[in-house]
Symmetry: C2
Subunit: 341 residues, 2 copies
């Protein structure tokens, strides 16, 4: 074990706007010896998710910022390769939060055992992991879609968006998905079964959205912000619900305030006059993991909840893949294959 | 009955910014003869409330706009002076929505009989009326104050704000009230028993608010907007709730967009990272009137829910009193005494 060498990717510089390759640094370091109660994890899959951009900022948020030199955080599917912990055994496959590195030492907290016979292990990072739980929780606790209502979600081919639309349809609602590009649109319409799919790159996107929502919008699952919000906002019905789980369009914004028209007063006025609910949340807020896993595993098994993965090979390619994620270049849940299953 | 002459105040022009006396017109007209199923109401008290400013705009909102020439809407305490309705009798005292006029014909819909022995009839327009129900509903359904939490409300000597703080304290929360002027501050502290009262006119108001909320703000009952929101926003705790029931600071805004820094993106980012709930509502949304009347009548009787009224004599003074209301000149729930009890 002490013969092993870890490879890890650390934050070399805080990105100014869009991250660049130089903001990341690949390091090697010896893997420390295990103490009693610890396990050594080897990463099989690393999850890349937009929230990681927030951790690279030096700003107070729901989780502490990364310090310069820190290994970048991230969910993983990992294998226990050595154990001095009573509950975990060599060979166990687990979901963990080991970050952007090949090896990690864990005290066992937060590990969940995976059964490869029940679902492909990589789904623990996507449709049956945090993104799926995010979709499920935001709809269950805030969006509350009812049969016949219209639910709109952007990044609809992505890990969260694809689950939002499909779960909305399981509840009998209409799902309107927004994507970038024709290939993604076809996938969301034909494979995921959304009722309508629109391309936000279309010059008349806002008009298309209005036509796609003739009865207005009852739930807008906010994961992007930017111009999608601008197009959605006028269409929100009285009593519409807006779970806010991400604002990817703004993650690369510099810290300078936006000049121009201050839209806050009119937004508040409309929140009042249309009795809107705008509520931020993150995946851990509601404690629904068990209920979600039970429901979603069944939906995946019977084909009502489909997913697509975009697998990048090799830990060293994580920075470039992450940069692409923020530009919408991935197609499906983005994971990095770090080691063999 | 046909000998009676009605006096009514109609919308003469849509206000551009703050309303001026010329935006209102006093008219006289004959009182029409009653048809079967109708009652004739004579106004005793007319309620003046900030929401009326919204009705004077030509914009879609939760209620239709007034047309030019319409009698201005408003809640009233009225006496039945003639009846061709089986359920209502001459002499009954009722709460109604008869508007800015001396006489109104009603089909009986929406009338509620008042018992002058249970509470002074004018309270049906304030602490036991729509303003009280607004405070009660917004706290019950959105604010959900818990013991030990900090609840902040502006216009704290007004009809809604005074009830918000007192009901918050009944739930064991700390009440921080914001008012304009020393006299109102003393009333809210000494008579209503708020824990802290601040004057928004103080040059260091934002710093005072921060000092008054050392553990942050858990509930901000939004009824004013403007600079109070600016001072409150940085202090909102994770999971804070913001019932939005009014934005009086903006009611006189012209329809021009606000130039300057666009605060919407940063606001949405903070809604996400602090998991805030921002939710608009109006008094009718939750159907809690019966539950409220039962609870609040008891609280008024045992002195836990106090109120102050600002009574203006004479219907013809309603426009000037309403103009003053939007400038914060009233002190307590503003009612116009139109006729004798």
């Amino acid at each position: 074990m002490s013969a092993k060498t870890n490879t890890r990717i650390v934050l070399a510089a805080r990105p100014d706007g869009a991250p660049r390759p130089g903001d990341f640094r690949v390091e090697t370091a010896p893997v420390p010896a295990l103490k009693e109660g610890e396990v050594l994890l080897e990463t099989v899959y690393l999850s890349l998710d937009p929230y990681m951009r927030g951790r690279m900022r030096d700003l107070k948020s729901y989780a502490p910022s990364l310090a310069l030199g820190d290994v970048i955080v991230g969910g993983t599917v990992s294998r226990v390769v050595a154990s001095r912990h009573a509950l975990w055994h060599e060979g166990d496959l687990v979901s963990a939060y080991a970050g952007w590195q090949r090896y990690a030492v864990s005290d066992g907290q937060g590990l969940r055992k995976l059964d490869p016979a029940a679902a492909p292990p990589s789904t623990a990072l996507g449709v049956l992991g945090m993104p799926g739980l995010t979709a499920y929780s935001g709809l269950r606790e805030i969006g509350k879609p009812k049969a016949g209502e219209t639910v709109v979600v952007a990044a609809a081919s992505g890990a969260v968006g694809s689950a939002v639309g499909q779960i909305a349809r399981i509840h009998g609602a209409r799902a309107v998905g927004i994507v970038g590009g024709k290939e993604k649109a076809e996938f969301v319409k034909n494979e995921l079964g959304f009722d309508v799919v629109l391309d936000h790159r279309a010059p008349d996107f806002a008009q298309q959205l209005a036509r796609a929502c003739p009865d207005g919008i009852d739930v807008y699952f906010e994961n992007v912000g930017g111009k999608v919000w601008d197009a959605v906002f006028p269409l929100l019905n009285d009593f519409a619900r807006v779970p806010v789980c991400g604002l990817i369009a703004h993650y690369n914004d510099a810290n300078d305030p936006d000049q121009g028209v201050d839209r806050l007063p009119i937004t508040m006025r409309e929140i009042l006059s249309r009795r809107l609910t705008v509520r931020g949340f993150i995946v851990f807020d509601f404690g629904l993991e068990e209920e979600f896993l039970k429901a979603a595993t069944a939906w995946v098994a019977d084909g009502r909840l489909r997913y697509r993965e975009d697998v990048v090979e090799g830990l060293e390619n994580a920075p470039q893949a992450f940069i692409g994620l923020l530009e919408g270049k991935n197609f499906g849940k983005l994971v990095v294959k770090v080691g063999e299953l």
